[in-house]
């Protein structure tokens, strides 16, 4: 069996690893640190142009069932949010929105600004009533700290029964393993339960965790908390890599690889004098004034060496690739699409 290395633990990395595994490769995925995927809203804002069936299969899960179509939700400050795919408790079908919402938040906690959100919803013509969840949680502590046991959820359900709205909006806080608690809360309080759309919070983390578990279930070996520190490249072919983790480093041999290291943060592309550069100093990088568009140069998703050769077995995927078309809010969808293209590009090997 041929062995592929995938570098990066975000949407592009997990999806390409999952696809490669399904196509019969032995796959090792190396990545460390929270990926941008986990900092997102956990929803796909734009409709994929290609591989819609594969994306749907990849993200389909009993643990957190997804919904697709023209979807609409409410942000944690009450503004509208549109997307194509979200977890079931995040959005409603466009045009089917509620007339009244109880906004249930912790006083002073950034997970859901209950008074601002209520005011904005009222301004949008949706009748909103603020509902203060009892208790005090410091701003840096996740709201889950107050909802660790069944009793806390029971108390919340009882409180929500007293509201007069058809839908309750709560802070996004449950982990992937607890997502089904929202179904139970819905039954217990007799109202539709909706999570506020929140970036930098539980939903993005859940999406990343889900992708990780889907890849692991498919048989991908996940080397979490590890980083590729060097590549063994001979002319235009990738032969192996050095991986470091903790106090240890290991060399591995590979037949092909996908680089999906993400946007210019420390473990992805390097920044040098405000420009993007390749941390391995081997591949061509398109430097753009628009930070959303710069990244690795590529030809049919294959990276290019500094002297312009097309790599035979090293593809790029996701935010680390230079992109001409990238739109605001389309990052996750484009990452998944480019992962699909990278796998297709390697398929001939």
């Amino acid at each position: 069996m041929s062995r592929a290395l995938v570098v990066g633990n975000g949407a592009a990395g997990y999806f390409s690893a999952w696809l490669l595994r399904k196509r019969g490769w032995e796959v090792i995925l190396v990545g460390r640190g929270t990926p941008s995927t986990a900092l997102s809203t956990g929803c796909l804002r734009s409709l994929p142009d290609i591989c819609r069936a594969e994306i749907s299969e990849f993200l389909d899960s009993e643990a957190m069932p997804p919904v697709t179509g023209r979807r609409e939700g409410v942000s944690k400050i009450g503004t509208p949010f549109q997307c194509w795919m979200s977890p079931s408790h995040s959005t409603w079908e466009e045009g089917e929105g509620p007339k009244s919402i109880a906004v249930a938040g912790l006083e002073g906690h950034p997970s859901l600004h209950l008074h601002t959100a209520s005011a904005i919803l009222n301004g949008r013509g949706i009748k909103a009533e603020p509902f203060t969840i009892p208790g005090s949680v410091p701003p840096d502590a996740p709201p889950t700290s107050s909802f660790r046991n069944d009793e806390a959820w029971e108390v919340l359900a009882e409180g929500l029964k007293g509201t007069s709205s058809e839908v309750v909006l709560i802070p996004a806080m449950v982990h992937l393993r607890d997502y089904r608690r929202l179904d139970r809360l819905e039954v217990r309080c007799g109202r539709k339960v909706l999570e506020a759309i929140s970036p930098l919070s539980a939903p993005g983390q859940r999406l990343a965790d889900l992708m990780c578990s889907r890849a692991a279930e498919a048989g991908v070996t996940i080397w979490d908390g590890r980083k590729v520190t060097a590549l063994d490249v001979q002319v235009d072919a990738m032969r192996g890599a050095t991986v470091a983790g903790g106090m240890e480093a290991r060399d591995i041999k590979v037949d092909a690889a996908i680089v999906a290291t993400g946007s210019p943060v420390v473990d992805g592309l390097d920044l040098n004098e405000r420009g993007i550069c390749d941390p391995f100093s081997r591949f061509l990088v398109v430097r753009s004034n628009d930070p959303l568009r710069g990244g690795y140069d590529s030809s049919n998703n294959m990276l290019l060496t500094i002297d312009g050769r097309v790599m035979k077995n090293l593809a790029g995927a996701g935010d680390c690739l230079a992109s001409k078309k990238r739109q605001y809010g389309s990052g996750l969808t484009e990452s998944l699409e480019s992962a699909y293209l990278a796998v297709r590009a390697l398929e001939g090997l």
Partner: protein, 327 residues
Amino acid sequence: MNEGRCVKCGSCLRACPVLNDPSGTQFPGPRTVGVDAPRFLEKGSVGQNALRCTMCHACEWACPSGMTLTRSMLQLRSELSGDLLPGHRRMVGNVASFGRTVATEFNGWREEGERVLYFPGCIGLGRLTGLTESVSSLLTSLGIAHDISREALCCGSPLLKIGVTELAEDLRRRNAEVFSRYDRIITSCPGCTYQLREVYGVEAEHIIEVLRGSDLRSNLEGRWALQVPCHLKRGLSPWTADDLAAILGKAGVDVVRMPEEDSCCGGGGGMLSGFPETSGSLARGKVEIYRRAGVEGVITACPFCSLNLGREGARVLDIGEAITLKH
């Protein structure tokens, strides 16, 4: 330090086991303690609440900017002024009077002048002597003749966690002299292993690294979960942590893997002695997860995990107690 890299994404806050626990919200959090306190004086006055951290490295592991949060927090701890917490005072008193953090109850000393030293650590010598005896007989069955020396004292790691650096340095000097008499040092506590490698520059081996490749078996029945120790996975090597599951699987244990297996039990960073109620609450959270999974018990490779989860009612075995050599 590299505090300037913080992008305020909050990933460390979501990863922190203490902040996510109902008893832990007095902890100002890794962002305040590790990033803001060293830079902004008004946030630097976090006082003893800065010690409400198990030093599990989960924040550092989550940080997308590769910040060395644990190192920043250790630095802050060494600069804290004021009285020690009662539990920490007791621990320092113990080290000052007899060289270990807890009273020693071990009787199986071996001082035969062998070339290998088994270094069980304070918990292994004071609280979990059965664990230490199991590991010692496992080593013997593997043909590794070893000493367990009275002269080897606390590694100093717990003292660094509460900012008592001078006493830790004194221990290092005394231990280094003992270590110089041996060719090989084997430990069963990831915290000691980490300390020996990082601070002493001694290539100590954790028992998992010794067992790798041996022909082992287990008599355990039923399904068992793992408690993957923080300093093993996020300190020493994630591959060594992977080996915990691999060794048990090969020995015939039915191991149930779960995403929460590598989250902290609450026993590290001086929390067990300083803030026992928070340590207990974290452990209860984990015990509940294991209970829901319907497993017989938990297998770990760290005396602190064994002690803390055991106190909250879990059936816990160290890897040294879970397996034996195949005959």
